[in-house]
């Protein structure tokens, strides 16, 4: 399976994407998935439309992308984390 490029984005690229990045890193390790995590600001997503396989973000996005977009707020609130993890895993195992 080719290495997947996962974009992790928040408004500033400082705080929440760092936490989400850490969570996905851990998840990938647990599931033996080889992922290329790229932590960016949501405004930078446009530069990755040709290479990314998935966008996980805490910021809202109205644009349509050629890859799935998953809301990662649950990693911050702790509410619904399992469902989000499952969603990410499913997207990565495709």
């Amino acid at each position: 399976m080719a290495k997947k490029q996962v974009l992790v984005a928040c408004g500033a690229g400082i705080a929440t994407s760092t936490v989400v990045n850490g969570a996905i890193e851990e998840m990938a390790k647990e599931n033996n998935l080889d992922v290329d995590l790229v932590q960016i600001k949501i405004s930078e997503v446009g530069g990755y439309v040709d290479t990314a396989d998935l966008l996980v973000t805490t910021a809202m996005t109205q644009k349509e992308y050629p890859f799935p977009v998953i809301n990662a707020r649950s990693f911050l609130t702790g509410i619904g984390t399992d469902a989000t993890k499952k969603e990410i895993l499913t997207a990565l195992q495709k």
Binding site: A12, I14, V19, G22, L76, G78
Partner: protein, 174 residues
């Protein structure tokens, strides 16, 4: 003071994240989220932790990317902005007298009545992972949020957060 305590104090002094009672604000009265950000930001400017540009920047960022989180028991918000407005990294806590509506993170319509604001002033992108993770676990513990909400003594809030957040081991972490 035993050896461990002395060591802890030394590490704590060296640590470059600024955290003490001066960045904890209780009974903050504000009619809007902008007013909350203005008051908390002003305090950080007075403490020489952020630049004047921090206030307009954090207000604009909150407008564009809301940071309210529907956490268990007490809703919180984690406003923050770009690193160039920060002089020294800190986490400022504001307990609001009455709830103020903040937009919900990742949602363009929904708002939530926030009672505790954790204003993050970070001077480096992509850093402080374990501190941020610990902070998120505070948000996931209703009991801790409720204790902060009803506490009237800043030193007690400081101790509680120092216990949960482990500021002392941050030095050198990237």
């Amino acid at each position: 003071m035993n050896g461990a305590n002395i060591l802890y104090s030394v590490v704590n002094m060296m640590s470059n994240i600024y955290f003490n009672e001066s960045v904890i604000l209780l009974n903050v009265e504000a009619a809007s989220k902008e007013e909350v950000l203005e008051k908390m930001g002003r305090n950080l400017i007075d403490e020489n932790l952020v630049k004047e540009s921090f206030i307009p920047a954090i207000i604009a960022r909150e407008e564009e990317y809301a940071t309210g989180l529907p956490t268990a028991g007490v809703a919180v918000a984690i406003p923050h902005t770009d690193v160039e407005h920060v002089q020294r990294k800190t986490i400022s806590i504001g307990v609001l007298k009455d709830a103020v509506e903040f937009g919900v993170m990742g949602d363009d319509k929904e708002t939530i009545p926030v009672r505790i604001v954790f204003m993050l002033a970070m001077d480096e992108a992509h850093s402080q992972l374990s501190l941020l993770q610990q902070l998120m676990s505070v948000f996931q513990t209703e009991e801790t949020l409720l204790s902060i909400l009803k506490e009237e003594n800043k030193t007690n809030i400081r101790s509680l957060l120092e216990e949960k957040l482990d500021f002392g081991v941050l030095e050198g972490e990237k």
